[in-house]
């Protein structure tokens, strides 16, 4: 049995109407509807949040931290995802957001841009010295990391082993606050303001790291109302203009962030899970070896379209682009300093990415082969229209569930009708044989 994986989504059976919307959009076929309620297959779920976006009943809940949970930290420092700038009606400058977050109860705020800019340079150095298999695949989106671990374990070693900007920011914030206040770093809570639930999983499981520098993640949706009020009370003139955010850093919130600042040749950017899966299928076949780096985002436009955001992703993207025009272009970074830190390995992950292949049809390959033969036989007997009425997203998934003994094949409406038709035919024949001859 696989180890228990952390997940950031909880399915609430009481609220579920069994409408199957989540089952149909799940890109890894991780949802089944059994007895009228949706349930999740944990080893297949990659926490992408597509199910949350389509559930109209609120029956899927992200397990993010709540503001009240943060009182346990002596100092809570907010690390806002750049997507946060795009959530409000008024054009928000970095200083205004800092002031608003402080009014919401955060003791301190650490901008993300310096870390994004430093990570760009670190990635550039890494790629220039890399001698392994190509392409290297970005590891900043935790859903993409999980997808590779689960579906493409053969190339986990191609994931970029550089810490994500949110991790670098958390580390910087802890060092800065600790130096300024004398508070031990372990009493400073680094809180990511997150556009998606996958970041929670990344904090709990810290793939590629012994530990995460982040301590909690609060969702943009949960914080939105309080923050919107705080934002409306901040006047532009009140806040100091600071140059802590840069256009190059903030634009990581949408597709193309890293390749815009890394001058490496042959990079690709891909967003949206179905597209990411198509690209990774091609990587698996060795088709994309001439690309050095692929930036992958699970959400269709990058982080601005995370499932825990409020604003329409295209409007949000427009706002970020507008904000970028007001910020220093960037990257604002001391390349020599970054290179020195890189040589001290402070940008590199300290563990290899683990592979987590899906549980096969059977641990014993002979038995697995026998089961696959049965599965393929059953698939050939099914209609193949993927109607979903059985509670599985496709006839193929249904056939596997039957072979694994999780459901009866009679759960397929058409199979059952077919059987009934045969019985009725038998019955009619029987009646005709037994029909008594007419007397007279």
């Amino acid at each position: 049995m696989p180890a228990q994986y952390h997940h950031s989504l909880r399915f609430m059976p009481d609220k579920c109407h069994g409408c199957m919307s989540c089952m149909r959009v799940c890109p890894t076929a991780a949802v089944r509807v059994r007895k009228g309620r949706a349930m999740k297959l944990d080893d297949r779920c990659i926490d992408c949040g597509e199910c949350i976006k389509v559930c109209e009943q609120g029956a899927i809940v992200p397990l993010t931290d709540q503001m009240a949970d943060l009182s346990k930290f002596e100092c809570a420092v907010a690390i806002p995802s750049a997507a946060l700038y795009a959530q409000f009606d008024k054009d928000l400058l970095p200083g205004m957001l800092v002031a608003a977050l402080q009014r919401c109860g955060f003791h301190d705020v650490e901008p993300l841009s310096p870390a994004c800019d430093a990570v760009s340079v670190a990635t550039e150095i890494f790629l220039s010295e890399y001698r392994g298999e190509y392409p290297v695949i970005s590891s900043f989106c935790p859903t993409v990391v999980r997808l590779v671990q689960v579906k493409y374990p053969e190339f986990v070693a191609q994931l970029l082993p550089i810490l994500a900007p949110r991790e670098i920011s958390a580390r910087n914030a802890k060092m800065r606050i600790s130096a300024a206040t004398g508070l031990p770093a372990n009493r400073v809570g680094a809180v990511y303001i997150t556009p998606c639930p996958a970041k929670i999983v990344a904090i709990l499981e810290h793939p590629g790291m012994t530990n995460s520098y982040l301590d909690a993640a609060v969702s943009i949706t949960d914080l939105f109302q309080t923050l919107a009020m705080a934002v409306s009370s901040v006047r532009e003139a009140e806040v100091e203009m600071d140059a802590s955010e840069t256009a190059s850093g903030v634009s990581w919130a949408f597709l193309g962030g890293l390749p815009r600042s890394v001058p490496a040749e042959n990079t690709l950017s891909v967003a949206g899970l179905p597209n990411v899966i198509r690209i990774l299928d091609d990587v698996a076949k060795g088709k994309l070896r001439r690309y050095s780096f692929i930036e992958c985002h699970a959400c269709p436009e990058g982080c601005v379209s995370g499932c825990l955001t409020v604003e329409n992703p295209y409007v949000a993207r427009g706002k970020i682009v507008r904000l970028c025009q007001k910020l220093p272009a960037g990257p604002v970074v001391d390349r020599k300093e970054v290179e020195r830190c890189y040589r001290e390995r402070s940008f590199l992950m300290d563990e290899p990415f683990a592979s987590r292949p899906l549980r096969p049809l059977d641990e014993n390959i002979s038995v697995a082969i026998a089961k696959m033969r049965k599965r393929d036989q059953l698939i050939s007997e099914l209609l193949g229209i993927d109607c979903g009425a059985c509670g599985a997203p496709s006839c193929r998934a249904f056939a596997e569930d039957v072979i694994l003994g999780e459901v009866e094949r009679e759960s397929c409406t058409f199979f059952w009708q077919h059987e009934l038709a045969n019985r009725v035919e038998d019955l009619v024949r029987l009646i005709q044989i037994q029909k008594p001859a007419k007397g007279g």
Partner: protein
């Protein structure tokens, strides 16, 4: 009838059908993963089967690929109806290609296909008859 511990699947490949090229290799990869085949072996089979599939798409009229999986090996045989290969030794050299400029324009035909298959296979055989077609035998051992 297959022996009980062997799975055999047949796939048809249409020549020049670039829109669907690669689907057979994806199906082969999926099957190996559901059977719990070692990831490194999946990687080698994926590369070899994709190159074999692309050779049919690029050069032949049509072809068929068979996949056989048993506890000791994964075996792929590809046979096509097409122009065949005049000089197999030459075709096996890295960088040698008879691809037309239009195929190279699409990013294929760099002359690495056959050498790549050989590199990833434990056993590789190729036979060809000019103006008739080509047959490939690719075996990758399990647990090697």
């Amino acid at each position: 009838m297959d022996p009980p511990e062997e799975l055999e699947s047949i796939y048809l490949v249409a020549g020049r059908d670039f829109a669907n090229a690669g689907r057979v290799s994806t199906a082969i990869m999926d099957a190996l993963k559901r059977l719990g085949v070692d990831p490194e072996l999946v990687r080698r089979v994926a590369i070899a089967s994709y190159e074999a599939e692309m050779n049919i798409v690029m050069y032949a009229l049509r072809g068929r690929m068979s996949l056989r999986i048993n506890p000791s090996a994964v075996i792929i045989e590809a046979e096509d109806e097409g122009p065949g290969i005049e000089d197999i030794d030459l075709a096996m050299q890295e960088g040698y290609s008879t691809a037309t400029p239009e195929i190279q324009e699409m990013g294929f035909g760099a002359g690495m296909g056959l050498p790549n298959i050989k590199k990833n296979a434990d056993e590789f055989r190729i036979t060809s008859e000019v103006a008739k077609g080509t047959r490939l035998f690719i075996r990758v051992n399990q647990g090697a």
